[in-house]
């Protein structure tokens, strides 16, 4: 009897084992293979897992590779831009829909619709939209914005978008003044103009999801709290900044983690929109891994880049989880 009771008590935990095994194989097993590959001599079609001399050489070459450096810079810019824009869109849409007086369901579904598309489709359509000759640039003329700008004397706006290899807001000179060694750095630290359309396209697609998260978070804020504040004479602005946004913090953090995952593994969208772009303006590590492995057959280099990406992701996720558990232990 005692055994049967202990078995039935422990059965659920034992039933976790299939998931654990799957994770071990598909995640840690495959990562181990990738780590071995990143330390190997495998740089042609034939599989060759012999250890490279010296074993860290591939990683050194990786970080010295200007293309990979640019990819890291672009990844950072994309991640920051995408997270900021999407979270703001989600907050704005969520708050607006929460307060609108009609057609809530209609708006909710409409803003979620882009999320149903695949990244490849989104990339192709937005590539058309950002064509410098026939895309949104035309709207600037049609809507009269360019005439206004010309009247001011600023001149018509006709950005090259995805075809423009230049960077804005480069800080190399400023940093070089403060830290002379940085002056000689080959890598340009700035925002590639061509990354902007990609950030816009990605935010368009995922904004609806951020909206849904916001709506859910808003629903957990007690109405009484808002009512009480209004009775006390607080303005809408104060209500939002002092009550709503702080209560949305857990929502925002969860959204950021899931968006961070989307951003750090971005591949399909960039390839469909512009590939690596002129002068690597839209290069991201995902493309680097793919081309190194399957176009150049330099599997060791692709594997090393993957491990670097994985470590970067873990550095973001593990602290979040540690914090979340501590809060949950305290809460429940």
């Amino acid at each position: 009897m005692k055994f049967r009771a202990r078995l039935s008590n422990n059965l659920p935990r034992l039933l976790l084992i299939p998931s654990i095994l799957i994770s071990l194989v598909f995640v840690y097993g495959f990562i181990s293979f990738t780590v071995v590959a990143s330390l190997s001599n495998w740089d042609s079609f034939a599989l060759d897992l012999s250890l490279r001399e010296p074993w860290y050489q591939t990683y050194i070459e990786l970080f010295a590779n200007p293309r990979f450096q640019i990819g890291l810079r672009n990844q950072l810019i994309f991640t920051v831009g995408f997270l900021a824009l999407t979270t703001v869109i989600g907050l704005v849409l969520g708050i607006l829909i929460h307060n609108v007086v009609l057609a809530k369901g209609f708006f909710r579904t409409l803003f979620l619709a882009p999320y149903a598309l695949s990244f490849i489709v989104t990339g192709v359509v937005w590539r058309w939209l950002f064509n410098p000759e026939t895309g949104v640039n035309l709207l600037l003329d049609v809507l009269g914005i360019n005439s206004v700008l010309e009247a001011i004397g600023v001149g018509p706006l006709k950005p090259g978008w995805l075809t423009d290899p230049s960077l804005v807001l480069t800080v190399n000179d400023a940093l070089g003044a403060a830290f002379p060694p940085l002056r000689d750095m080959g890598l340009q630290l700035g925002i590639p103009v061509a990354m902007i359309p990609i950030i816009i396209a990605a935010s368009w697609q995922v904004g609806g999801f951020a909206m849904a998260m916001t709506l859910a978070g808003l629903g957990t804020i007690p109405e009484e709290m808002i009512e009480a504040a209004r009775v006390d004479g607080a303005s809408s602005w104060q209500i939002y900044t002092k009550i709503v946004i702080p209560n949305l913090t857990p929502t925002i953090v969860s959204t950021l983690v899931i968006l961070g995952w989307t951003s750090l593994t971005i591949f399909d969208l960039v390839v469909a929109m512009s590939g690596s772009g002129p002068g690597f303006a839209t290069e991201v590590p995902g493309i680097f891994v793919y081309e190194q492995s399957f176009r150049a057959f330099r599997f060791n280099s692709g594997a090393a880049a993957s491990i670097v990406m994985l470590i970067a992701v873990s550095a973001v996720v593990v602290p979040y989880l540690a914090r979340a558990y501590r809060n949950q232990e305290e809460g429940s």
């Binding site: 039935s8 008590n9 059965l11 659920p12 935990r13 976790l16 299939p18 998931s19 799957i22 994770s23 598909f26 995640v27 495959f30 990738t34 607006l96 609108v100 007086v101 009609l102 057609a103 809530k104 369901g105 708006f107 409409l110 803003f111 979620l112 619709a113 999320y115 149903a116 598309l117 490849i120 489709v121 192709v124 359509v125 939209l129 064509n131 026939t134 895309g135 368009w204 904004g207 709506l215 859910a216 978070g217 957990t220 007690p222 809408s236 969860s254 995952w261 750090l264 593994t265 399909d268 995902g286 492995s293 594997a303 993957s306 491990i307 990406m309 994985l310 593990v318 949950q328 429940s332």
Partner: protein
């Protein structure tokens, strides 16, 4: 609908998970209300622009379906793009269903069970194991293509639909577990304890108490899994290369030639492939929000 942050158990009678009646439709009265509505309408219009381009291109003739025409109405709307795309894609759409429906259901069920154990039946080391399972969510898929194929081939699953289902399951379990763990965290402990005092085993607690209350969580998880698996390209391309068994996203990609493309067919194909996910979102979007509402967000 509960107004507090934790979920209280509704009275034990027929609990409907139907959405609340739309009792709040009314005309805007204050300037603020007009403003909110106007901004939403504007943003909705902007959001719909890419869909406009997609659908009008799909309705054109091949010669007209070029980027320079993207803003015009089609001169003579033609359904040829859609018929051709459907003809090319129908088998692949079926293949996608064969993969994604079982995969998303299986992943959600197992994720629900895992989430329950991790949130309500904690044991020493359970947080560590949960973290380790969760990191799996963050693998860049390009990194694991070759070991994946070697493993599937060694187990005889390479090139098969079940092999693709297993792959989607393996990489979907972490998110499903996360969603349900957060969902069950807001389930009151008292419910569990009450059932245990009544003599139920842990399994029975799961099936008789937690599962019936999990509908919103399932909606969230299934929508999430269905969307990401349906739109997945890389795994579909690599795990099932046989053209007869390819999934829809892979077949759509092959419609673009290496150097020239018939855009009306491709755009029509893209629209057709998006329909199942769109329908799912359309019918379930309010449940989606309710599901997140019940705690998986925190």
């Amino acid at each position: 609908m509960s107004k507090t942050a934790t979920m209280t158990l509704p009275p034990r009678r027929k609990r409907s998970t139907a959405p609340p009646k739309l009792r709040d439709w009314r005309a805007p009265r204050t300037a603020g209300e007009f403003f909110v509505l106007a901004v939403l309408v504007l943003m909705a219009a902007v959001t719909m622009v890419p869909f406009f381009v997609m659908i009008t291109s799909a309705l054109r003739t091949p010669a007209e379906a070029v980027p320079s025409n993207m803003w015009d109405w089609p001169t003579i709307p033609s359904g040829a793009g859609f018929t051709e795309a459907w003809g090319l894609l129908q088998n692949n759409v079926l293949n996608s269903f064969l993969v994604v429906v079982p995969a998303s259901l299986l992943t959600s069920f197992v994720g629900a069970f895992n989430g329950f154990v991790f949130s309500k039946l904690k044991f020493r080391g359970s947080n560590l194991i949960f973290t380790l399972i969760l990191i799996g969510m963050f693998i860049p898929y390009q990194a694991v293509l070759i070991p994946l194929v070697r493993f599937l081939s060694a187990t005889g699953l390479y090139g098969t639909i079940p092999g693709l289902i297993l792959t989607h399951f393996a990489y979907g379990i972490p998110i499903a577990t996360l969603i349900f763990r957060n969902y069950y965290a807001s389930l009151p402990k008292e419910l569990i304890e009450a059932a245990q005092i009544d003599g139920a085993t842990n399994i029975q607690v799961f099936t008789r108490v937690a599962l019936p209350l999990s509908v919103p969580g399932f909606i969230v998880s299934i929508l999430f899994q269905f969307t990401s698996q349906w739109n997945n390209f890389l795994f579909g391309l690599i795990v099932v290369p046989d053209p007869k068994m390819q999934v829809a996203t892979v077949a759509l990609n092959n419609m673009s030639g290496s150097l020239t493309v018939e855009w009306n067919v491709v755009m029509a194909g893209a629209a057709l492939i998006a329909i199942p996910t769109l329908v799912l979102y359309l019918t379930l979007s309010r449940y989606f929000v309710r599901g997140l509402l019940a705690g998986s967000v925190k």
